[in-house]
């Protein structure tokens, strides 16, 4: 029970801090003083205090879309295993539910953007939809291949591989974590896929989809995308952290992995340029390629070919 409460608290607190941390790392690399880690929290509170501007072209979809997207991400956050490998809600095959509820959120984010009739937002929405159609199958290959070795009944059990030697497990989980890291960059809209700080609408993906949102809606969109990063980071953390640890230790290592991820993302943002838009699909295809490798390794392991 206490574990669940801690996880719920983490789910609420961590997202904005995570973003703050990334920005801080980035500013350190750039030799700037940089905003404090709490800056996203302040931005969020500021947005919640404002009124809204709503496009005259838009319909009710525009108003409900941010709330639905946020609700879907919260639900995904309840399902994903966090510190100690424990999730708040857990049932059979819940990771399918997880993937699909995120897709519902994405559907509404897209039609919410299209509702304004702006071609910028259409552009962002189109890219979001195409890129996620490349990410989704790879994510499912990773999940299912790990499922051959692991326990497929729940998301919690999925990260516990039963077959294979220790080294192989490590190899598979590292590759899995690598694939999910690409997914983290895509879904979190970070460099090199998307640049959250660019000021040219033509080159953005996620930021351009929310050009017309303002006030509390913008606030929850910001919070939601930060929470999505925490969710995917949690999967990565659970892959990397060995099981069978005391909860306290596991919690500490969970936080440490998140810290490392934030530093890595911040570093990438500081030193790598955003990819040309036409090159993003190949970058995403790496996910599929690596996941096929994972599948092959697992098949070889199961049939005794890994010596």
């Amino acid at each position: 029970m206490i574990e669940i409460l801690i996880n719920a608290a983490l789910l609420i607190i961590l997202p904005l801090l995570f973003i703050g941390l990334i920005n801080r790392v980035k500013s350190l690399w750039g030799g700037r003083q940089g905003p404090s880690i709490m800056q996203p929290v302040r931005d969020f509170l500021k947005l919640m205090k404002k009124g809204e501007v709503i496009s005259t072209t838009s319909s009710f979809i525009f108003k409900i879309a941010p709330s639905i997207t946020f609700a879907s991400i919260i639900l995904a956050g309840l399902i994903v295993p966090m510190a100690g490998g424990r999730s708040i809600l857990s049932f059979n095959a819940d990771f399918i539910f997880f993937a699909y509820i995120l897709a519902t959120g994405k559907f509404f984010a897209i039609i919410g953007a299209m509702d304004t009739g702006s071609s910028f937002e259409g552009m962002g929405a189109s890219r979001e939809a195409v890129f996620s159609s490349l990410v989704e199958p790879a994510f499912f290959i990773v999940i299912a291949s790990i499922g051959i070795l692991g326990n497929v009944s729940t998301f919690e059990g999925l990260m516990r591989l039963s077959g294979g030697s220790g080294e192989l497990k490590m190899l598979i989980l590292m590759l899995g974590a690598g694939t999910l890291f690409i997914m983290l960059l895509v879904e979190g809209c970070r460099v090199p896929v998307d640049d959250p700080n660019t000021h040219l609408e033509l080159t953005m993906i996620h930021e351009v989809m929310v050009l017309d949102n303002s006030g509390p809606d913008m606030g929850i969109i910001m919070y939601a995308s930060a929470m999505k990063m925490i969710i995917i980071s949690s999967i990565i953390a659970n892959m990397v952290i060995p099981e069978s640890m005391a909860f306290g230790l596991s919690l500490a290592s969970y936080l440490a992995v998140l810290l490392v991820l934030a530093v890595i993302i911040g570093t990438i943002e500081a030193i790598v340029a955003r990819l040309r838009m036409s090159h993003v699909p190949q970058f995403l295809f790496y996910m599929t390629a690596i996941s096929v490798i994972i599948l092959s390794i697992i098949v070889l392991t199961v049939s005794g070919g890994m010596k």
Binding site: L175, H279, Q282, G305, K307
Partner: protein, 211 residues
Amino acid sequence: MINFIIIVFGLTMLYISSTIRIEGYIKALSIQGFLLFFLVLLDYDTIILPNLIFLSFETLAVKAIALPLFLIYIIRKNGIFREVEPSVTSMSSLIITSLIFAAGFYISYWSIDAVSNIRPFYFGISISTIVAGIFIIISRKKIITHVMGYMMLENGNFLMALSIVKEMPFIVALGVLLDIFIAIYLLGLFVNKVQDEYSEIHIDTLSKLKD
């Protein structure tokens, strides 16, 4: 650890198939050299000592350091354009390489029972590296990329030789000879300076040589 290195070796091939910078190729080749060096070191118990010393020198000094440096020197010297100019889009080339790797894994799966005394995982990755190297040669337009495709192919050979080193140690030594061949080939490129004859070293221009 060995498996991990082999996987990274495979990933470098994926990287090569999708990057458009020639320097990316060279970096990846250098990394492959280092990886092969580590593989040789990790296999110390199966290789006889003089062979081990020779192989580790060859991988580290020649494959990982000398040849890449030499390649960079040639590119700078000849003023070769920095993009590789593939004849297929890099997305399809990535997809094709992934398929080659999947096929390679299938071969290693098949070889578990069919061929004894070889390590299936080595075998699969090395075969797919060879095929991917051939694919690079086929699908890129520059002469310099042909040479590099050939070097990847040769690295694949080396890896395959390592997988059967216990049975036939001389195979590895034969493989090393290929490196010498490469070096001569590169030297030829360098000395003859094909550049003087044609404005850009391009495979299309070679077709003019037919009678």
